[in-house]
């Protein structure tokens, strides 16, 4: 117990004076500080008093000082007490709150910091203090939090963190204190080596993106932890480089980058980061876009090809920043093209047409090539998306091929896939019938089989089902049948088509290499495996156990026998019977380890085994006893190129279709299928077995499948191959190229004048006929403008071209041109050489014009033309004479004009022009367009080229009404493609509009209206390249400025007075085309 000397008492009293609480604290603390010698103790007490006396509120700090001393002393050698007190005292001079916080946090902090670091720590805290109360509380919070910080960071790092806080507090103290609150959560999840770069990035962010810091602290650690350790440093350094760039921040960078990395295989991460770096060096913004599109690009190309693709973009970026951005956004045709070039993946869609014609040529009937997804979606028994198949009317192929490293080889793969399917059709795999005779096998055998099947009372849809139903093990028999049949058609095909023989053999060899070894398979399965090998035409020698040699020999011989020329599917069936009988008798037990192996030659056939040989074999097999180890028979591993072969299903479908047709001919409503037979077929079908579940489920599944099968058979499958496979109505906000999946929808690129490139597949044009209104409109208009009509009629009849023209002075012709003959004779008499062009003939001159009228049906055409004239009226008022003139004119036309909208005038002018065109006999089409957004460009058919002027056309014209926006580019492009399909010497396109092109998103970054004008201009240029003469007629009086750009190098006219349009349009047409 310490002697409480005078000095100490004085201190106690002094403290008492300041606050009784303080002296209590002092006494309480004093009792626990026996370790200090008197001098030090006194100094300590004196310091406390000093602190307390310093200012009005410093007693609180002193109280903290006394209270925390005992705890601090536990961590601190007594000699070091000054190291702790001195900084505290300094702090107290600045702010009592700060000092208090310092004292309170010290004990815990000392768990991590050495006593010599205390003063530095105090200084760090003090640096946060700026004299304001906000800074005070931040600095105090810093001290409070230090124990947590120190748990993860060393003093140096703590200093950095404080610097960060300091910098942040320049912008916002709230942010700073919030960051402090997150300390535990942030640093607990960060690994030690990552902390320093993590903080560094945060520090960098302060300058430009200080608002992001808090979010960064929140998300950062999670993101960093998702990245491989060895890449983190580079990654963060990259993020750092984005700081200060426009529209890009380290935060967005790391968020996007981590998203991208999530979609990339881990072993590619490093390459990816390196590639990103190369983009980042040029443009951080482009790097950001690259991160967005990288996963999409990687679907098509491999990581090691990525740099090539990126380089393409960087090159453009260097020349044209906008173009480069579009490239990395995948909004540039160039980007897609390069990607396609590099990619070895081949999409079915790209080659669908080619393959479809190829298959059709081979099969001799209309063949659709479809995505195998569409078949599996039908839920009628096909399950694998990746394999090829056919259901009799179409060939189904996987959506893409990337098996081989080049497009060419992948195409070859597709070719083999489809060829095999075609071979099924060509060689009648689905034509099995008891009514036909086998080619090879003896008749009596066949008759036996027919009798057996006829005797059975199974209901069946097809002969093949009847055939399979004879056998107890349906799976085994269908496997045998398929393998023998596959072998037959492959052999047949290879025999007849020399060109594909080599490739086919190569693929077969590859398939053989992938086969499992016999030894690993139980008895029956091993024998079926032999069949697989035979069907793949394996040459040479197979090692099989000697005791099985005869068995194998027989099977090989039988299976081979149907691979000769002329064998048909009935032969396959007959061979199946024989092979089944052998294999079914074999026990499906695992093969014993060390059996004698002997070689069996499988490459050539010794011909069919004789009946006696087979009989002997059967008897021998019968003698083998039961074996408990027998397992259930499983189908062999699939041969990839053959895909799925389902003879029973296909034949059932065909049968149902046929029935369906017959029924519909009889017109007795719904067709009736033999549902029982279907059930029977599915009962033990492999299709159902593949799906696992209880018996109850099986029943339901079967029911469901029957229903679907019936639907399938009933459906007239004439749709477009792409129809129904999906919706094109994608997220309208998406920035990506679109796809169409419906008929009558067309994709067009859009021109980005800044990027100087097309945005690929950017707009969907939806084509549909316009509704029909009343046909009276047409005739009414003609009556209304009867004077004008008469005028037009006169003019156009006058200018109707002559059908025949007499051409004179020809070297050869119908008759002599007597003038020329006389001249020639005179010439000769005069001694000079006469001209021998002395004939004339009539030459037919055909006027061969096709014109498409494109009508702007945007909402703005709803404007009444009177409104438009309001301004004009005022203009005229300045000049009374003009005004009077205008007024007179106006009165004349007044009645007709009242409440007329621009669109009405447009319509009327079209009617008048149609009249003129009918007189001339020019071919013409009328289209309207409007729409909303790039995925909704509506294209209305009013009159197609091949249509004549029927009442329907007139009625449709009546329904021309203002709709939505004006996206001219795609409408012009679509019209161009329409005109292209017309065979005419001269082609024209007339665009009738009321203003500048505009639509949602029809601008650059939402501001640059020039974009739309340039796209339209490009669309016109494209038309001109296709030898179409475009002409734009607009009634927008302010039109001159943009039309000058839009219609550069082409004809256009701006009509000041809308009402003059009906008169002007036919006139214009005349001058242009005659």
């Amino acid at each position: 117990m310490r002697a409480w000397n005078e000095k100490l008492r004085t201190i106690e009293v002094d403290l008492e004076k300041i606050s009784p609480m303080l002296s209590d604290e002092f006494r309480r603390a004093g009792q626990q500080m026996d370790a200090l010698d008197d001098a030090t103790f006194f100094k300590w007490a004196q310091d406390g008093l000093d602190i307390a006396k310093h200012s009005l509120r410093s007693w609180e700090a002193a109280s903290d000082y006394f209270r925390s001393t005992p705890n601090v002393m536990k961590k601190l050698p007594p000699t070091d007490i000054r190291l702790w007190v001195a900084p505290g005292k300094d702090l107290a001079e600045e702010s009592a709150v700060l000092a208090g916080a310092y004292f309170r946090a010290s004990a815990q902090t000392l768990e991590f910091l050495a006593s010599k670091d205390l003063s530095e720590w105090a200084t760090i805290g003090k640096s946060l203090y700026k004299g304001t109360w906000k800074s005070t509380s931040l600095a105090a919070a810093f001290y409070d939090t230090t124990p947590k910080l120190a748990k993860y960071l060393n003093l140096d790092e703590i200093a950095r963190f404080a610097l960060l806080l300091d910098a942040l507090s320049v912008h916002s103290y709230d942010q700073g204190s919030e960051c402090l609150k997150m300390v535990d959560q942030v640093f607990s999840s960060l690994e030690k080596p990552d902390r320093q770069p993590f903080l560094q990035l945060a520090a960098v962010m302060i300058d430009n993106n200080w608002r992001d810091v808090r979010t960064y602290l929140d998300l950062g650690p999670k993101i960093i932890n998702r990245i491989r350790k060895e890449h983190r440093k580079v990654f963060l350094a990259l993020a750092e480089a984005t700081a200060g760039a426009d529209n890009c921040s380290p935060l967005t960078f790391i968020v996007d980058a981590s998203k991208a990395l999530d979609e990339i295989a881990p072993h590619d991460h490093f390459n990816f980061i390196t590639i990103t770096e190369s983009v980042l060096k040029k443009s951080p913004m482009a790097a950001l876009e690259f991160l967005h599109s990288a996963p999409k690009v990687l679907v098509k190309i491999k990581m090691d090809q990525m740099q090539t693709w990126v380089n393409g973009g960087l090159q453009i970026l260097a020349e044209n920043p906008d173009g480069g951005m579009a490239y990395f956004k995948l909004e540039s045709k160039h980007a897609i093209d390069i990607m396609e070039d590099i990619s070895s993946t081949l999409e079915l869609d790209k080659i669908r047409e080619v393959l479809s014609m190829y298959c059709q040529a081979l099969a001799g009937s209309h063949m659709q090539i479809k995505n195998s997804e569409t078949l599996t979606e039908k839920g009628i028994g096909w399950t694998s998306i990746e394999s090829a198949s056919t259901e009799g009317t179409a060939i189904f192929l996987p959506p893409s091929a990337k098996k081989y490293p080049s497009k060419l080889e992948n195409f070859g793969w597709y070719k083999i896939l489809s060829t095999h399917q075609v071979a099924h059709l060509e060689y009648g795999s689905f034509q099995f019938s008891f009514g036909k005779q086998p080619f090879l096998f003896k008749e009596y055998l066949w008759q036996d089989l027919t009798r057996v099947t006829a005797g059975r009372k199974t209901q069946a849809l097809s002969d093949i089902q009847r055939f399979f139903s004879i056998f107890p093990n349906k799976r085994l028999v269908s496997d045998i049948f398929m393998l023998v049949e596959d072998g037959r058609i492959d052999a047949q095909f290879k025999r007849e088509y020399a060109g594909i023989r080599q490739t086919y053999s190569k693929i077969q060899k590859t398939a053989l290499a992938e086969r499992p070894p016999f030894e690993s398979l139980p008895g029956q399965e091993a024998l079926v495996e032999v069949l697989v090998r035979v069907s793949l035409q394996q040459g040479g020698i197979v090692r099989v156990p000697s005791q099985k040699q005869t068995l194998v020999r027989s099977i090989v011989d039988i299976a081979r026998s149907v691979q000769v020329e002329g064998a048909n599917v009935e032969d396959t069936a007959q061979a199946t019977v024989l092979i089944y009988e052998i294999i079914a008798k074999v026990k499906n037990t695992p093969q014993e380890g060390n059996q004698d192996q002997s070689d069996t030659e499988v490459s050539d056939s010794e011909g069919m085994p004789s009946a006696e040989e087979l009989k002997a074999l059967m008897e021998k097999l019968d003698q083998e006893g039961a074996n408990p180890k027998e397992t259930e028979y499983k189908s062999p591993q699939k041969v990839e190129y053959r895909g799925e072969f389902k003879p029973e299903l296909v034949q059932a479908l065909n049968e149902m279709r046929k029935q369906n047709e017959e029924d519909s001919e009889e017109e007795d409503g719904k067709p009736e299928f033999d549902e029982e037979a279907l059930k029977e077929m599915l009962k033990d079908s492999t299709e159902i077995e593949q799906m696992e579940g209880s018996e109850q489920d099986m029943m339901e599944l079967t029911e469901e499948m029957i229903e679907k099968l019936m639907q399938e058979a009933a459906s007239q499958d004439d749709q477009d191959p792409q129809a129904g496979s999906g919706q094109s109505d994608k997220d309208p906000n998406s920035d990506k190229p679109l796809t169409v999946s419906k008929p009558k929808q067309y994709l067009y690129d859009e021109w980005d004048f800044r990027a100087v490139d097309y945005k690929p597949r950017w707009c969907i044009v939806k084509e549909r006929p316009l509704e029909e209104g009343s046909p009276d409109f047409y005739d009414k208009t003609l009556t209304g403008y009867s004077t004008l009509v008469a005028q037009i009629k006169h003019q156009f009849e006058m200018s109707q071209p002559e059908q025949f023209k007499k051409v004179k002075r020809l070297p050869d012709g119908d008759e002599y041109d007597f003038d020329a003959v006389i001249e020639a004779i005179v010439e000769r008499r005069a001694g000079s050489t006469p001209d021998d062009k002395v004939y004339w003939r009539r030459n037919k001159i055909e006027r061969d014009v096709a014109v498409a009228l494109l009508l702007d049906m945007s909402a703005s055409t709803a404007e009444a033309i009177e409104d438009g004239r309001q301004a004009e009226k005022w203009d005229y008022r300045n000049d009374p004479h003009d005004y009077m003139q205008w007024l007179r004119q106006h009165k004349e036309e007044g009645a007709r004009r009242a409440n007329k909208r621009i669109i009405d005038v447009e319509k009327e002018s079209i009617v008048l022009l149609m009249k003129a065109l009918e007189i001339l006999g020019d071919r013409y089409a009328i289209y309207g367009f409007s729409g909303y957004g790039r995925e909704n460009v509506e294209f209305y058919l009013i009159k197609e080229f091949k249509e004549s002027l029927t009442n329907h056309v007139k009625a449709r014209l009546d329904k021309v009404t203002p709709m939505h926006a004006t996206r001219m580019g795609p409408a012009i492009r679509h019209t161009t493609s329409k005109l292209e399909a017309v065979d005419a010497k001269s082609k024209f396109m007339f665009l009738l509009s009321d203003g500048r092109p505009q639509d949602r998103g029809y601008s650059r970054e939402g501001v640059e209206k020039e974009y739309a004008v340039h796209d339209t201009k490009m669309a016109f240029t494209e038309a001109r390249r296709k030898h179409i003469t475009p002409f734009a007629l607009t009634v927008d009086r302010t039109g001159h400025d943009y039309l000058k750009t839009m219609c550069q190098d082409m004809g256009y006219e701006v009509l000041a007075d809308v009402a003059s349009l009906p008169k002007r349009l036919p006139q214009l047409y005349r001058t242009l085309t005659l």
Binding site: V354, L355, M357, Q360, G364, K415, A498, G499, I500, Q502
Partner: protein
Amino acid sequence: MPEIKNSYKERAIEEYVLKEDPFYIPIKDEIELFEAAYEQKLPVLLKGPTGCGKTRFVEYMSWRLGRPAASVKRKSKKENEGERQIPLVTIACHEDLTASDLVGRYLLEGEETKWIDGPLTRAVRVGAICYLDEVVEARKDTTVLIHPLTDHRRILPIEKRGIVLEAHEGFLLVISYNPGYQSALKDLKQSTRQRFIAIEFNYPPKEIEKEIIKHESGVDAQTALDLARLGEKVRNLKDHGLQEVVSTRLLIYAGRLIAMGISPRRACDAAVVYGIIDDPEVQKSLQEVVSTIFE
């Protein structure tokens, strides 16, 4: 000086007779039909796609009808010399072919004009088979011109000279016509087509086509079969991408190229694929068919 052999022969159009037996394999009863028509002086319309053997058929018939063996009764050589061979006048019609091109015209010769008979007039005079190939291509006035020749009158009026020519008894008018190929504008008028008996032609079946190709091009039987198979496959695409399919003639050309040592795939590309279509997609499809059939 080495003697240069005159490698061309010149003769008047109406004197052109086929000396050698043209190779022709009948597919149906077309030979009997034609013989009967000739006997009865009924003009003949040959319908069929291009390159399926219409012209060859006419050549063959002109030789067959005129060959000595046709009349067994003739015995002495002298009489045989009197045997008339039937000349064949072939006129390929084009859109600028006018009536005067067929009938004839006045030509300036010295100080005066001289009438020159056109090929049709000559055929009428000498009693040849006059074959107007692709007749719908010609101008409309030519079809009117042949009307009086094709009914019972069998006359050819020549307005410019003011005469009417009665046809030689051996004269027969044969026209060919490729339905579907021409546009509706150029369809044959009913009043014209109903003056002819029509013999339909089509590409021969695979087996016969193989024989034809083998004979005409000199390739071996297997190659000929493969070419015939190619023909069959390509024709499957009629109206499914191809408007016009490959003709026997083109298959023979391919065969000839092969016989000259061109690789089969290349020969088929040159003679068949690029010959019939310009669309690159379809070309690709056809090339795939070729590469499936030929090594």
